[in-house]
């Protein structure tokens, strides 16, 4: 498919998705499906995942698998909290970045210099991150210290002194708040669009803006600059890169350190949201970020979609657990669309010869889709409140389903995870 084609398909996909969301909202009556609040929450929850995912992207594009993102993120939160309460938001940002980068450096030393298996090193860092931070808290935040006076405890830092500023889109989502008004009319599609736009633009943390900008920036650096080409070559064929004078070790070091810094930035973001470091606040987001990145096919756009999916599902269930059942309807309609397409294709190509080669497989798929549709629809009609446990796993189940559908089109960097040694052929 050409570039233009892909772009168009993506646009059409988004449009269909919007339409569906709007329909489901109307039918189910849960305004939270497209409310600005949900999208604001989704953004808030998606950003740390997306930052961790970006960290994963940088490392893996340079051929280093980074399962240690979680540990690096933990380092980011701790250092952000520690610097933040003493010297303010900017210091928190810098310290969190550096903390994460430190974890990345460790990973780089182990994997690049010593050729340790990437998963092993990552696991060790995931052990070390919480251990080191707990240790630091036990030493620096213990009773009687100045920090403890300022509100620190073993499990949390004092609040950071100057929270980062927030911005809104003037006119539209602030002041007259045109979008907000449009949203509250609950018109079909228009209000949904307004809600989404307002959620993404109203009263947004500066760090969110920064984080979102990092996506196109990453794309630009990795795919449009010479440095990016070299970095990706280290993930595709480091031997070729080295033979052309690219310093693969250096590139990998830079990539993995940046990767750690991104994870650390994700941690900083968490600290900014809660205004302080809280032990355990990363809650596995490093892993989810990794998942979002794989989900997104090792590309910034896809990664953003993956992070958005997690953020949206989480935000929606936090705001309105009941709305989650509407997704049974959503799924049923999606399956219906799929079925419709298949049937149309079957009818369009009337030749019997065509039919023969399709084989039984396709019919099985269609039958399964039809059955799934019926089951989903029935569930939607009968279930009005899922047990909370099932609501919590919505994003994870969705991810699995999407992977099942899309996985064969995923393509990871060819030399990802390979222990590269200078001068040694694979």
């Amino acid at each position: 498919m050409t570039r233009v084609g892909k772009y168009h398909v993506a646009l059409v996909g988004v449009a269909v998705l919007l339409l569906l969301l709007s329909l489901v909202r109307l039918v189910s009556g849960y305004d939270d499906i497209t409310s600005s609040g949900t999208f604001a929450a989704a953004l808030l929850l998606a950003v740390p995942i997306g930052l961790a995912g970006l960290g994963g992207l940088w490392a893996e594009r340079a051929g280093v698998v980074n399962i240690g993102l979680e540990g690096m993120m933990v380092l980011g939160t701790w250092f952000a909290g520690w610097a933040g309460y003493q010297w303010g938001a900017v210091a928190a940002l810098v310290a969190g970045l550096l903390g994460g980068a430190l974890g990345g450096l460790l990973h780089a030393i182990a994997t690049v210099t010593f050729g340790v298996d990437h998963i092993i090193s990552g696991v060790a860092i995931n052990l070390l991150g919480p251990g080191v931070t707990r240790f630091l808290s036990e030493v620096l935040y213990k009773e009687g210290t100045q920090a403890a006076e300022a509100g620190a405890g073993i499990t949390s830092s004092p609040a950071i002194t100057s929270p980062p500023p927030r911005v809104s889109l003037p006119l539209l989502s602030d002041g007259p708040d045109l979008l907000g008004r449009l949203e509250s009319t609950h018109w079909f599609l228009l209000s949904d669009l307004a809600g989404i736009l307002r959620g993404l633009t109203h009263n947004v943390n500066m760090l969110v803006v920064l984080a979102v900008l990092l996506l196109p920036l990453t794309f630009f650096v990795l795919w449009r600059t010479a440095f990016g080409l070299r970095l990706r070559s280290a993930g595709e064929n480091p031997w070729a890169a080295e033979s052309l004078g690219v310093n693969v070790y250096l590139i990998k070091y830079v990539a993995v350190v940046i990767s750690g810094a991104f994870a650390g930035l994700g941690g900083v973001f968490l600290v900014f949201v809660s205004t302080k470091y809280v032990e355990g606040q990363t809650a596995g987001r490093g892993f989810i970020g990794l998942a979002a990145m794989i989900f997104g096919n090792w590309r910034p756009g896809g990664l953003a979609a993956g992070a958005a999916l997690f953020g949206y599902a989480d935000g929606l269930q936090l705001r309105s657990s009941g709305a989650v059942t509407s997704f049974f309807l959503f799924g049923a309609v999606l399956l219906l669309i799929y079925l419709g397409q298949q049937v149309r294709r079957l009818l369009a190509s009337g030749e019997p010869a065509e039919m023969v080669t399709r084989g039984a497989r396709q019919y099985t798929m269609m039958a399964a889709a039809a059955a799934g549709m019926v089951v989903l629809f029935w569930l939607w009609l009968t279930v009005d409140q899922l047990p909370n446990e099932f609501v919590f796993i919505t994003p994870h189940v969705l991810t699995l389903i999407v992977l099942l559908v899309a996985s064969q089109r995923l393509r990871m960097p060819k030399a990802d995870g390979v222990s590269y040694r200078r001068g040694e052929q694979h």
Binding site: T225, L229, S233, A240, S243, L244, G245
Partner: protein, 535 residues
């Protein structure tokens, strides 16, 4: 290539007393070579003689322990390839050094990217590459993904990579191993143009005819040291080979026919789709289904391939890489699904797993020994078990019989002259030739009825080559049916009882090896001679 320009040229590269030791091996010992500018200087030597190591030293990928390097008369000391590139040296490696998921352009500019305001300047790069390609007659499309390219195209990309960096001295390490004669001719034509423009080429090959054809000067390396410097006009290939190994040259000729009337392997209507296998509907004959596929315009990797191999027959399969040989092998081995029939003796194998096929008596010498043939980080005896884990002596019940496997590995080591200290040595500690001998021994040890031998002597030195040929001939005499696939056309012609040519997934010609030359065979392989069947 006129000799008066040669005489006038001054040395472009001088290697003085180069010594390089690896743990336990002296790869290079006091090597002295002087390469004059504007010439093609060939370096020959048996496997492991130290050619590649020497070139890697010259290219800055490895540091010599002793010795000096002079480029254009100046002393140099390279710390990395980029130093060498700066000094105007470029190297095309023995194995392709390309990132498959990158475009041709990205592969070429990598490490020497033109930038504009921080961005990669694609426009400028495209322009430069197109100019270079036109100037040297190297056709490429800069926008294509390398993974979609054939070997010939890849080779051109490799050369363009070097030229793009403005190299004046080109190192080509076995560039012709994967090319057919026509492509080799084309390459040589390009090289001659380059030398005429004053560039210097250092050329490494095991194909001595080619060396004599292209080289202006030849250096022979044996066991890490320079043993001779000869003029190509004054030696024959045979003499050259004897210089390399110090022994007589073997020939791959089969002496008398041992072909019997019993059909051992029967392949009928073998067809493979490019975009995923779909089983034919029940009850429909394969021929009809294949017709259907063709009508639908599907791309077929194997298109209705049928042939018989008799007991005691070696069937040679000639073809440019990428025309379906790998797919054919994998279909016969049951690694990839295909339509059509495969029968071994009386048994119909289609639908069987790889394991059952092996157990039924198919042996397999894979084309890439490191990829499909060996567990490099396992011991030799474990490699002996590989592929035979369900058969004696490797297996007893659910267990692996370690003692018997070891003993049988020792037998192979002795019978096939594998040079190794023992059966517990890891496979990666062996040189390539010895690894290949181990594989041949292993595949023969199952007393197979039918053997697939894909490039059985690729990258193997002349001594080992002769030994492998002998083993194939002996087994053939004992009634083995062999499907031989080789890029070495001399080997193919010399060993086969019959040659089939595969082109774009179809068998296009059946030829008699006794009256075919490599050149004509190459014509069939490239489709230059249309598929008139002769026998």
């Amino acid at each position: 290539m006129s000799s008066d320009t040669l005489d006038a040229a001054r040395p472009a590269v001088e290697l003085e007393g180069i010594t390089k030791r690896f743990p336990g091996v002296v790869a290079n010992h006091d090597i002295r070579i002087s390469v004059r500018q504007g010439t093609v200087h060939a370096i020959v030597g048996e496997n492991g003689a130290g050619k590649s190591t020497l070139m890697k030293i010259l290219y800055g990928m490895q540091k010599p322990d002793e010795g000096t390097i002079k480029v254009d008369g100046k002393d140099v000391s390279f710390r990395s390839p980029s130093d060498a590139i700066d000094a105007g040296i470029g190297m095309v490696h023995q194995h392709f050094m390309l990132a498959d998921n990158f475009t041709v352009l990205e592969n070429i500019v990598l490490g020497a990217e033109p930038t504009k305001a921080g961005r990669l300047d694609v426009g400028a790069a495209t322009k430069r590459i197109t100019e270079l390609a036109a100037a040297h007659g190297l056709r490429v499309d800069p926008g294509r993904l390398v993974e979609d390219l054939g070997v010939g195209d890849r080779q051109r990309v490799e050369i363009l990579k070097v030229l793009y960096r403005g190299a004046r001295i080109l190192i080509l390490d076995e560039p012709t191993a994967v090319l057919v004669p026509q492509e080799v001719d084309e390459l040589f034509q390009n090289l001659r143009e380059l030398t005429a423009e004053g560039l210097t080429v250092i050329f490494i090959s095991h194909k001595l005819d080619e060396v004599l054809d292209i080289a202006d000067e030849i250096t022979v390396i044996r066991r890490g040291t320079t043993v001779a410097s000869v003029d190509p006009h004054e030696v024959t290939a045979r003499q050259l080979a004897e210089l390399m190994v110090g022994s007589e040259l073997p020939t791959p000729e089969t002496r008398e026919s041992t072909v019997t009337d019993t059909v051992m392997l029967k392949v009928s209507h073998l067809t493979m789709e490019a975009d995923g296998h779909r089983a034919a509907p029940k009850g429909m004959p394969v021929e009809r289904y294949v017709d259907l596929l063709r009508e639908e315009g599907r791309r077929l990797l194997l298109d209705d391939v049928s042939f018989d191999i008799h007991k005691g027959e070696i069937l040679g399969l000639a073809g440019v890489e990428g025309n379906g040989q790998s797919e054919l092998i994998e279909a016969i081995m049951g690694i990839r699904p295909a339509h059509g029939g495969i029968a071994l003796g009386e048994q119909d194998l289609s639908g069987w797993s790889t394991l059952r096929r092996r157990e039924a008596g198919i042996g397999y010498i894979p084309e890439d020994r490191h990829r499909q043939g060996l567990l490099l980080e396992a011991s030799l005896w474990e490699n002996r078990v590989l592929g035979h884990q369900t058969r004696r002596p490797a297996r007893s019940g659910i267990w692996i019989n370690r003692r018997a496997s070891r003993a049988d590995t020792w037998r192979i080591i002795e019978d096939y002259d594998v040079r190794t200290p023992g059966v517990d040595t890891l496979a990666l500690a062996l040189s390539g030739g010895n690894q290949q001998k181990l594989i041949v021994g292993r595949e023969m040890s199952g007393e197979p009825l039918f053997l697939i031998a894909a490039h059985p002597t690729r990258g193997v030195d002349v001594g080992a080559q002769a030994a492998i040929w002998d083993h194939l001939r002996e087994a053939r005499a004992a009634g083995l049916a062999v499907l031989l696939i080789s890029a070495d056309l001399d080997e193919l012609i010399g060993l086969s009882d019959c040659i089939q040519v595969i082109y774009r997934g179809r068998l296009v010609a059946a030829l008699d090896p006794s009256d075919i030359t490599p050149e004509r065979l190459g014509g069939y392989m490239t489709g230059a001679i249309a598929g008139t069947e002769e026998s």
